[in-house]
């Protein structure tokens, strides 16, 4: 079998490579080129071809002067920090819980994983109803039995909205992340815990000195996934707040740039997309390098 793979590896990869080149690489390169032009969606301003409409760094300069871009950038960072922390704590907690459960393990895993199967935008509208009606009017409103101001009108305040979006995003992805953690936990040999118990380690010491270091590979994956997905989040942002009340994040900012001018300024939107790509790439690479260093070979 190994011989088979060795021989056919390159050929069998060709379809995937062709698809990658055609669907991702070529549009990406074109996109970078277009970000230097006066691209207006269905035409290039002042020319038939893109190279005739080059404007140099004008789009980029405009982006860095755009208050909307800067505020969405800051807001995106705020959300990412909150979301990464909450998602990790919740999914690791769920994994630890599910692992200990004896009966109905499969049931819990399915239930926790289930939200992950539902689509982002549609769920966003359902959550929008939950936050606006169930939370604000039925459960925690002024006339409700328990009045919790923080949970009322969460979508009408930028700080509360960070948590509203994080709650929804966590609910949706924690089940999936839980599976990764669960897999990591199952790979930790039991004898390590046994040995620690014999030496008299407490539960916290075991968690701190065995579970955490042994889980580092899972942490790397989960951090990478949560970091980039929070940074790129669009559906929840669009469905819950639509960017109102200063809650616009970068993806939505790029989307809305094409709708805020007539004819649409795709050149400027593309410049933002390129900056956005560089940001995500940098953050992800740094993060992978840092966590890789801490990984321990099991």
């Amino acid at each position: 079998m190994e011989k088979y793979y060795k021989k056919w590896f390159k050929i069998l990869n060709i379809p995937a490579i062709i698809l990658f080149v055609v669907v991702i690489l070529v549009p990406f390169i074109m996109g970078v080129a277009y970000s230097f032009t006066a691209w207006r969606g269905s035409y290039f301003k002042g020319s038939e071809h893109w190279y005739g409409a080059l404007v140099g760094f004008k789009n980029y300069i405009k982006v860095f002067h755009s208050q909307k871009f800067i505020t969405s950038f800051i807001y995106t960072i705020k959300f990412t920090v909150v979301a990464v922390v909450i998602k990790n704590i919740v999914s690791l907690g769920m994994a630890l819980m599910v692992r200990k459960v004896g009966k109905g393990k499969g049931f819990f895993r399915t239930v926790f994983f289930f939200p992950n199967l539902l689509g982002g935008l549609a769920m966003g509208f359902i959550w929008s109803f939950i936050f606006q009606n169930v939370y604000s009017l039925m459960l925690f409103g002024e006339e409700s039995p328990i009045h919790i101001p923080f949970l009322c009108d969460m979508l009408q305040d930028p700080n509360k909205a960070v948590f509203a979006m994080a709650i929804m995003a966590t609910w949706q992805t924690a089940g999936y992340l839980m599976l990764i953690y669960l897999n990591g936990l199952n790979n930790i040999p039991e004898d390590l815990y046994e040995a620690a118990s014999i030496d008299g380690a407490t539960a916290w010491q075991k968690f701190r000195h065995i579970t955490v270091p042994m889980l580092m590979p899972a942490f790397t994956i989960v951090f990478f996934l949560t970091l980039s997905s929070s940074f790129k989040m669009l559906d929840e942002n669009l469905a819950l707040t639509g960017g109102d009340f200063g809650t616009r994040m970068l993806s939505l900012q790029i989307l809305l740039t094409t709708r805020e001018n007539t004819p649409p300024n795709y050149g400027m939107a593309q410049a933002q997309a390129v900056i956005f790509f560089i940001l995500i790439a940098t953050v992800s690479i740094i993060q992978v390098i840092v966590t890789k260093r801490k990984e321990i070979e099991a």
Binding site: P15, I18, L19, S42, Y43, L137, D244, P263
Partner: protein
């Protein structure tokens, strides 16, 4: 074994190659006209119409419909594909893109003389012009908005059987009288006692008890506070109209002309401050605050429902709500009337030649939602087929029947004889006949002005604030709106 693996590899390669090169081959078009429509309400009837056209002429029309929000994106890629639409639609706002990209055929390129005459018969105010030149499209229809009421409701409140005297006086009334009327109506809703007010100098009195219909009232207006566009785009048109006559005026004027809008923007906000105190909700009055913009309470559908169920006297909206109201209360839908919105402006605020506050207070804004445009880049034969279809649609008996009865459109060339099922559309025809029209210069505003500036401030800062809005705050908002407008205009 080896052979079959090789064969598999070749198949995969061929498959991948096929994926990459699809779309480069020559396409066989199995239609004569491809019409890209952006008004989803008429999608079904349009397909029937296409069948009918094929039966009559033997020419096949392919119709493709995408609703307005995603329409531009889809049409952009369709226009660039091999199977491009030969006839497409656009509103006045997005038109510049299609024009600049070279897709819009002007009247001078129309070869069919009858269709040419039809293009030229479009009134100037409705023409799809561009910097006062060109004539690029045939209007789908005319739409308009104002203050909508249930005729029976008003008759019950006033205890009259004929509303004509009231509507005539209402049209002539000024803003102060309007305010008086709103307060009187509100008092009547709250205590059911007789209240008096004057309109155009004539006095009116509400009944001293409630009827089955008026008993349900929770407030005077149904306001969709959660929908920025209802006030951002439509209410915003009133202050714009005090400075700009029509969309061409906006495009051709110096951006600094926007400074003149300041006093009318402030006054329009003060008017909203007044109106929003009398808002009805599904259960009882709706107070300004976080609930006022909660889309589960004051979303568009909820607002229309509140009105249709007789819980509010008025709703500021357009003739398109007929079908929404008809779904909820068919008997109310047939009794709808459209009144002009009363505006808090004085003649000093108006910078349009010949326009007065009295005229504005009598008028409703009417505009063309979409135009039919012939694709300039289509082949001669395709253009000819598209022209024939467009002419047939707008002049043949079948086409006219579809426009009025199936699409439920007010045709741009409607006359007194045109009657529709929708009473609001019939009212629009009356306003048009009496020349009591405002244009819709909002259509030429920077495209996010309504939602990201004027409407956004109203929703985020004003409607959430239960206290009276201070003049300083309103002045600041007006300044922000104007600077947003100017920076948007730089993009042109």
């Amino acid at each position: 074994m080896k052979r079959s693996i090789k064969a598999l590899g070749v198949c995969l390669l061929a498959g991948a190659a096929a994926v990459t090169v699809t779309g480069c081959g020559k396409v066989n078009k199995d239609y004569d006209v491809y019409f890209f429509n952006q008004k989803s309400e008429i999608a079904d009837s349009l397909n029937d119409l296409a069948d009918e056209y094929e039966a009559q002429t033997g020419k096949k029309v392919k119709v493709f419909t995408v609703g307005t929000t995603e329409g531009s994106e889809t049409m952009r890629s369709e226009l660039k594909s091999k199977e491009y639409p030969t006839l497409f639609s656009s509103n006045a706002i997005s038109f510049e893109e299609w024009k600049s990209a070279g897709y819009a055929a002007g009247v001078e390129e129309i070869s069919n003389p009858e269709l040419k005459t039809l293009y030229e018969s479009v009134p100037d105010a409705l023409k799809l012009q561009f910097e006062s030149e060109g004539n690029y499209g045939i209007p789908y229809n005319i739409e308009g908005y104002g203050l909508i009421a249930d005729r029976q409701m008003l008759e019950d409140i006033l205890g009259v059987t004929d509303l004509n005297a009231f509507t005539a006086d209402y049209k002539e009334a000024d803003y102060e009288e309007f305010q008086q009327m709103i307060v009187a109506l509100n008092d009547y809703i709250n205590d059911g006692k007789s209240e008096s007010f004057t309109l155009n100098g004539n006095s009116y009195e509400t009944q001293s008890d409630k009827t089955d219909l008026t008993e349900n009232l929770n407030g005077v207006f149904s306001i969709a506070g959660a929908e920025k566009w209802t006030y951002g785009n439509h209410f915003g048109n009133y202050p714009i109209s005090t400075v700009y006559q029509n969309i061409y005026d906006v495009r051709e004027s110096d951006p600094d002309k926007a400074d003149f809008m300041k006093s009318s923007i402030v006054k329009s906000l003060q008017e909203l401050d007044f109106l929003s105190n009398y808002a009805a909700g599904p259960d009882g009055a709706t107070k300004r605050g976080s609930q006022f913009i909660n889309s589960t309470v004051t979303g568009y559908d909820q607002a229309v429902q509140t009105f249709a169920e007789g819980k509010a006297v008025f709703i500021k909206n357009g003739n398109w709500i007929y079908s929404n109201v008809a779904d909820i209360a068919p008997e109310v839908a047939d009794r709808l009337i459209m009144l002009p919105m009363k505006l808090n402006f004085s003649d000093d605020d108006i910078h349009v030649d010949g326009l007065t506050v009295d005229q504005m207070n009598r008028s409703v804004p009417e505009f063309v939602s979409q135009y039919y445009i012939i694709n300039k880049k289509a082949t001669e034969q395709e253009k000819k087929d598209a022209e024939d279809f467009l002419l047939w649609l707008n002049t043949s008996e079948t086409g006219q029947d579809y426009i009025v009865n199936k699409f439920a459109f007010v045709p741009f060339n409607a006359d007194e004889d045109t009657t529709l099922e929708n009473p609001l559309s019939n009212d629009l025809i009356t306003y048009k006949r009496d020349n009591d029209l405002l244009a819709n210069p909002f259509d030429a505003a920077p495209s996010s002005w309504g939602l990201e500036s004027y409407g956004k401030y109203i929703m985020e800062d004003l409607f959430t604030d239960p206290d009276p809005w201070s003049e300083d705050e309103l002045n600041d908002i007006a300044d922000e709106c104007i600077s947003y407008w100017k920076s948007g205009m730089d993009e042109w």
